[in-house]
Symmetry: C2
Subunit: 226 residues, 2 copies
Amino acid sequence: MERVPLERKVLNENDRIAADLRARFQEQGTLCLNFISSPGSGKTSLLERTLSSLPKGERVAVLTGDIQTENDANRLKRYGFPVKQITTGGTCHLDARMIERHLADWPLEDLDLLFIENVGNLVCPSSYDLGEEAKIVLLSVTEGEDKPLKYPSIFFKSQLMILNKVDLLPYVPFNVNAAVENARKVHPGIEIVKVSCLKGNGLDEWLIWLEKKRQAQKEKQPAAVR
Amino acid sequence: MERVPLERKVLNENDRIAADLRARFQEQGTLCLNFISSPGSGKTSLLERTLSSLPKGERVAVLTGDIQTENDANRLKRYGFPVKQITTGGTCHLDARMIERHLADWPLEDLDLLFIENVGNLVCPSSYDLGEEAKIVLLSVTEGEDKPLKYPSIFFKSQLMILNKVDLLPYVPFNVNAAVENARKVHPGIEIVKVSCLKGNGLDEWLIWLEKKRQAQKEKQPAAVR
């Protein structure tokens, strides 16, 4: 059984395409963010809140992945920005080739911001580079504060942890300090923002983080293209 | 890239070991249940509630899977029954070989009931038969009622859906009827029990389901061994 070498081959191929995507994003000054979490932690809700806060003219688009259904794309299209559903049909993660293919008819020079909502899975998506500038992991307070220790790879690789559903803190056994400590054990430099996508708490802080990243991405763009 | 044939080879090998495990479970009258859900839906809490309700002399054991940490085994050991942690070290699911290996020093004739808590992942574990009598999927009301449609494989393959955290229904946008309808769209025959592992609601109904299954498993045992 030559499982490991084959997996490596698949990942090498993925990394090659992802590096190519990353170069194109940087060339065009497009900030690409890859949102990863368990099913139901609030990725789509966070994107709904974010899209609804952006001025209509913003050059923003979303690719949203699921195994089945177009539900998320339908929810996100209501905000007036281009959205495409990537239906993986069983595959537990998005890969760089799916992103490349779904971007084929979206000229990147028209995009300042590309959100990728991954398949709901705290494990497998962490192995697939999509060319993003940053991975963002969502954890909701209903999931338990030990998740960063149990699923370390995605917390290690994410620049930002969004702790969602803080409105439920009075009703669930969840120790915020322990969760933060666990995330920092795995990844000392991880940034953390606490929000409730249902009630709206903390979203300003997230939008400030996003704006800073957009500025930084613009500054990475080669002067000749700016 | 011969990815698909290789995956098939891995799954065929898994199915062979799982069939062997299933035959051994039936021979010994051991009821084996495989619990699958997203991270944090309450698999460990349900097992804690279940173990604490069983008389001390019951012949029950637990195998609990995680990518990292022994947290769940430590939580479950407090109830006085044998518990082993299977730490997969990155693998996103349990497979039949892991079960076979961890059962090597547990004589099945001493076990009436074997609980397997899978890695928290609503996708990949559904492809791996562990020789169980039934898969049980947990969905918590914080995850959204569309999950059966988005992750159909596990809802299709599970005999029972446990809808957990019903104590949070007043605080989250979740339509129980829609969730039930979605689960039945994917799997018309799925049984459904609604519980709160935190508050205790509905656990009697789960324990009755469990007892019925145990009786049925005993009846499958060849008369000679009974």
